[in-house]
Amino acid sequence: MKNFSVTVIFENGKMVPVSFELNNREYEVKRIPIVFERIDGGRKYLCFGVDTGGALVELRLDRENLQFTVCNFQPV
């Protein structure tokens, strides 16, 4: 998992990722087919399954420290 930057907007009280930058490349989020929560011990992560048009990526927000990480980068 890598630390990287994510741009989000807040829409109707909900956080919505709109783009992220990974390895000096910016990816635009085209759609978010799924949002779900992972629990590891007492640690909770809010996971956004996003489609950039060229890849499916899981953006994982640690609710404890509000840090995003990128997981499961799958080119399509």
């Binding site: 759609r31 087919p33 799924i34 779900f36 929560e37 992972r38 629990i39 590891d40 011990g41 007492g42 640690r43 996971c47 399954g49 489609d51 499916l56 404890e64 799958q74 399509v76």
Partner: protein
């Protein structure tokens, strides 16, 4: 007369993966446990097939080899239980808006008693069902589908939901349920298992309509006449867990005692952590090791006077039993702790309790297996995973 609704998510795990990955939609996919990339003979079996894969004859439980024979283009996707359970929680949240009496039957099925709440809706139970279907699409994802059955008993509601898949809505009323169900295969009925199916097939009976013409033992007759009037079991009606266990099937054969004991230790760590999380301890410790078919089977058990939840104690006792009569060449191991009791009190002079509490606090804050015994270093850790049966729903959903 009651009005019972059964909500059944269609091809749940596969549909959830198609929801998460739009490029898989409309394509045959099979969910496998663990990882992809292994040779087909070692990937085990399909734990869920998509609607498209089912059309090729791929079923839950088919081996990967069989699935590829029937559907060469099948796409194998590793399971992600966190994702499915998060969606289940959302499904429960949706249906709980329509009735306070809910039975969570498994990870993808639930019963609702809408006898009283249907009066609030102009369209009654039909309106509730249509609203649930709509909300599932909005809140869980546009690809998520469910079949809903409405009737006056649980058995009939479940049967109704299975009559029209995917995305069905079926009503079975007292006046027409016998006629509508006469062409249903006997093995489709919840309660008619393999032995009863064989009993009926031996008499030339394959459909419910045929079975109803015969004189049958009362326990089978009640099922073929669909007379079961079992009540819903809500989370409040459930009893606390009677046992906690964990099994694991390794990707390759474990040929040495040390590798087996390492796996057992990992399973005990998980089981004991769950016990401590539930505030419980157990008196009967059980270890099962399934060797290859030609070597017999290893079972080891130990019963104690006082309940324990310390993984070190449990491991010491079970490994001692194992070493009296060791087996090797196994792929599957299981640890089960039963005879459970609440509020396990340990000696006030014992420092282990403090160590365990700190380990639990660290793992609670930073994630499971952040702190774990050094004996598990150097290998891949096996992490807890729920099953579709949701055996711990009292603990997961109870107040």
């Amino acid at each position: 007369m009651k009005t019972i609704m059964h909500v059944d998510m269609n091809s749940y795990f596969a549909t959830a993966e198609q929801q998460a990955n739009p490029y898989l939609r409309g394509r045959p996919i099979g969910i496998i446990k663990g990882r992809t990339g292994l040779p087909a003979g070692r990937q085990g079996c399909i734990i869920a097939a998509s609607v498209e894969a089912k059309r090729f004859g791929v079923k839950t439980g088919s081996t990967v080899w069989e699935a590829k024979q029937k559907c060469p283009q099948i796409i194998l996707v590793p399971s992600d239980m966190d994702k499915y359970f998060a969606l289940t929680k959302r499904m429960i949240s949706i249906i709980s808006h329509y009735s306070p009496t809910i039975e969570i039957f498994s990870i993808d099925e639930a019963f609702l008693d809408v006898t009283d709440t249907q009066k609030i809706f102009a369209g009654g139970a039909w309106e509730i069902a249509l609203e649930i279907k709509n909300k599932i699409k909005i809140e869980m994802g546009e690809w998520m589908k469910c079949s809903i059955g409405i009737s006056y008993t649980k058995l009939l509601a479940k049967l109704a939901s299975e009559m029209q898949k995917p995305d069905g809505l079926t009503f079975l009323g007292p006046e027409d349920y016998l006629q509508k169900t006469q062409n249903i295969a006997v093995e489709e009925i919840c309660g008619i298992g393999m032995a009863r199916t064989r009993y009926l097939h031996d008499r030339g009976v394959f459909k419910l309509g045929q079975a109803r013409k015969l004189e049958l033992p009362p326990e089978i007759a009640d099922l073929v006449w669909l007379k079961n009037e079992e009540q819903l079991t809500t989370v409040d009606d459930l009893d606390p867990a009677k046992s906690v266990g964990r099994t694991f099937t390794a990707f390759s054969m474990l040929d040495t005692q040390s590798s087996i004991l390492k796996l057992v230790r990992n399973l005990i760590e998980e089981t004991a952590a769950k016990l401590r999380e539930m505030g419980m301890g157990g008196r009967t410790l059980y270890l099962t090791l399934n060797p290859s078919p030609n070597l017999g089977e290893g079972h080891y058990t130990k019963t104690l006077k006082d309940p324990v939840c310390d993984p070190q104690v449990i491991f010491d006792l079970l490994s001692r039993e194992y070493l009296k009569n060791p087996v090797v060449g196994i792929r599957k191991a299981g640890v089960n702790i039963s005879n459970l009791a609440f509020s396990v009190q340990r000696s006030v002079f014992d420092k282990r309790e403090k160590v365990l509490r700190v380990v639990d606090e660290v793992n609670e804050k930073y994630g499971l297996f952040t702190a774990y015994p050094a004996s598990l270093l150097g290998g891949e850790l096996i992490r807890p995973e729920m099953t579709g049966f949701l055996g711990d729903k009292w603990y997961r959903f109870g107040s």
